[in-house]
């Protein structure tokens, strides 16, 4: 009997061979690479990887990843992903979508998913515009802003994804920047490893439609001191991780600190805002249906059920 050493998967193993149709220079490339790097770092088995996405430019991402891919409906990615995750808890589940997809049309599911805390990582491509429909204001564009593709200024205000995630119950909340793939990959890897619903809001450039928040803008090229408009939370000694999840005071304090940081506009903090280990939806399900802790729903024998007791009760 021979035991072969496990083959180490390379970055290439996470790439599909499909031609990519994003605009040249799109921030999506950075996010795609970051995801693939994270998957490679964690050596996730592509056969046990299910990547779900919504609709829009970001929705095409699963097609470029070697794994099971589900390109779903606009705004509904978290619902399909949750159903998938619950049906097969052996899978690593990633959910992807744009800011319009997740914080606009999908806002209700963003909240619903946070309440459940099922185990998946949700990566939002946040570029402030609806790209695929040619650059309308997205839910993260602030009031008064106008990109070159908009005929008028935005007259609705932008939402704060981090604060919304805190209020909804996400147990891992982070921000990253698409053009720093190494850092983003590390954050995504942590989000995947986290048990529970993890949000990574990735600030992203849209070179075609968003002329406000460009690579140069993030780099602060226009500022006299030429400093980045981003800073890493950990660089300023911020630690969003709850040490004792049973300590309500600590939880509230950490949540408040995260929300306070999320309103900092210049420079914008990236990194992990909040992290806590709490029982997941799956944990609750396993308590309710102990058999599912042994093997996932999809592998349960549900085809030999004895319904006689139910009928007997109806006599």
């Amino acid at each position: 009997m021979s035991v072969s050493a496990p083959v180490k998967l390379t970055l290439k193993d996470y790439k599909s061979d499909l031609h990519n149709d994003w605009c040249p220079g799109c921030g999506d490339f950075g996010i795609l690479t970051s995801i693939q790097m994270a998957l490679q770092q964690l050596q996730i088995d592509p056969d046990k990887l299910a990547v779900f996405s919504g609709i829009g430019c970001s929705g095409k991402t699963p097609h470029y990843i070697n794994g099971y891919g589900f390109h779903t409906l606009h705004g509904r990615v978290l619902t399909v992903a949750t159903g998938g995750r619950l049906a097969n808890t052996d899978l690593t589940v990633l959910a992807l979508g744009g800011d319009g997809d997740g914080y606009g049309i999908g806002a209700g599911y963003f909240v619903g998913a946070g309440r459940r805390n099922a185990d998946f990582a949700y990566i939002v491509h946040n570029n402030n515009v609806y790209g695929l429909t040619k650059g309308q204001a997205s839910p993260t564009l602030s009031k008064g802003k106008k990109t070159k593709s908009m005929p008028e200024q935005a007259i609705q205000d932008g939402i704060n994804p981090v604060a919304m995630a805190i209020a909804s119950g996400y147990t891992f909340i982070a921000r990253a920047y698409a053009l720093e793939p190494k850092y983003t990959a590390a954050i995504i890897a942590r989000a995947i490893q986290h048990k529970g619903s993890a949000l990574v809001d990735v600030l992203q450039t849209c070179p075609t439609y968003n002329d406000l928040y460009t690579k140069e803008w993030y780099e602060g090229a226009d500022l006299p001191e030429k400093r980045s408009r981003l800073y890493k939370l950990e660089d300023k000694g911020f630690d969003g991780k709850v040490k004792d999840p049973t300590d309500q005071e600590e939880i509230v304090a950490k949540k408040s600190a995260a929300v306070a940081r999320s309103y900092e506009a210049d420079p914008i903090p990236i990194g992990v805002y909040y992290e806590v280990e709490l029982p997941t939806y799956e944990d609750a399900v396993f308590q309710r249906i102990p058999a599912l802790a042994e093997k996932p729903l999809v592998e349960q024998d549900v085809f030999h059920r004895d319904i006689a007791p139910l009928l007997e009760a109806m006599r």
Binding site: L18, P62, G67, A81, G83
Partner: protein
Amino acid sequence: MIGGPQGSGINASAEVFAKACSRAGLRVYANIEYHSNIMGKHSFYRVRVDDEDVRSYKDKADILVALDHETLAGDGDHRRWATHFGHLAEINEGGGVIYDADLGDLDASARKDLRYYAVPFMDIIKKALEEVGKGDQARRYEVMKNTVGLGASLALCDYPFDLVAEVIRSQFKGKRSEVGELNVRAAKLAFEYVRDHFDTKAFPYTLKPHTEQKARILAKGYEIHAIAKLKAGCAFQTYYPISPATDESVFLERQQRDYKLLVVQCEDEISSINMAIGAAHMGVRAATATSGPGFALMVEGIGFASITEAPGPVLVMYQRGGPSTGMPTRQEQGDLQFALHPAQGDFPHVVIAPGDLRECYQDTFSAFNWAERYQMPVIVLSDKKLASVYTTIDKLELTWDQIDRGELFTGSEWTPVDAKGKGDQGSQTPSRNGNGHGDLDLAKVKEYLRYALTPEGISPRSRPGVVGGRFWATSDEHDPDGHITEGVDMRVAMMEKRMGKLKLLAKTVPQEQQYFLHGPKDAELTVVAWGSTKGTILDALKTLEAQGKKVNYLQCRLMKPFPADGVAVILRRAKRIVSVEENYTGQLAQLVQEQTGVMIDQRINKFDGRPFSEDEMVNALSRVYDGAKAEPVVTHVG
């Protein structure tokens, strides 16, 4: 018939009585009418009992138990526009009215032929409580009025009290057995009170247990839909609370632990259907349940499931009075056309409309097989009437249990064959949990393509976790590997592949599950109808036959794919055709016309939110039979 304010327990009394009759070998058909209200509004429950099979309700009852004044007089005294005028008009000649003596003197002028029985409900409750030393707590036990009403009515129709006592006891087990005994006692005291104070021997309507006791069950439609889902191996049910669909999901929630079924209460119906689709793609049998307003949210999911060829979900849709919020707790067959055309574009899905509880079981069970074999969503069109009707069915009728998981790609790591359980799963699914596939020769598979263009249009399906079975699924048009395409040839091929699956399905569904001609082949009048009017039409046909009227009934059941050829043959042969539907426009009539080219001019429609009674059906059909033009039917009752 028992009537009272919601929250007064009329359900419990009616159902105890129904059970006591069913267990004694009698056939029962019971139906409830209630408001979308938690407490206080008027509701009533009819229980029809017979030696023979009963499949509908009659306009008139023999006994009315009135727990409040409104049951007798209606609500005209506190509403600008009365919703009903009490139930006295719905009692058979010489019938009995049992009412609470506390209501005072009754105005019997409208129905002098009835017998009135004033029973001191609270005194009886108090007496029962005194026996256990709780005489001062009568107000707390006021809800036992329903039991008093039940006991009193048993004395009138001379039904054996012990049969009822046994049912009451069986419903209060363990810690609650004390309350059960109290109820038995209150019912008994009421029973004795009526026997001692009135001449019950003169009461013309009596009820005897059947001589032969058969092992029947007494069930509601939502329970049957749920049991069919369990038997079919449904492992994942999602829902958002909505009348009258919620009961099914709550029933399943109770069975989660025992049957390894996960029920998820979602944030809305969009989430419900999409979670179910996600689960179906993972390889479990997934389902949801809703009614019209929820379905209105789910529709984008139907198209999504269809274009991604998801093996499901199965959606049981309980129609209720529309449009919009409409009448949440009332009956209507108003969503047939909606279920047929739920979303943008042309796509395949199945719509089937069971006519009674037995068919609710069969169609819900079959739905999972179709969903997996043909990889498309299946809608089972039920309704409020089927959901809440409480009726006897032969236990043996629930034996439909051949599971077919369709064409599967299982990959090399998967251990496909385990013949255990082959006997009751059929040859399609040799593996123990039904996930295996014995026929696929892996050596011949070079590259797995989830949407492979096979000669028949069905591509073996894989699921995440299966080695070598990797695929992409997209709501966009796609290539065989599941990546987006906008190419013309592939578009045409994929449309034809998907749509063609409906023709395949049509070939395999047994003809009697698609449509069925009841009654004589040769008739003067052919009734065309669908769904839950079935029992009422069959009961009416018996009466019409006795009157010498030759009427038959074409029941349409499979709505999509519609069996146009078979239906057309029957209708072209028909002398005269009349459609019967509980909606305004005649949605089946439209479908039949569109699919067969046979016109249906005579349409009997009912859209008052109440199901047809047997009498209404007989009268409406007789009119048409005798040459009059069909008219809408309105129930003038509570």
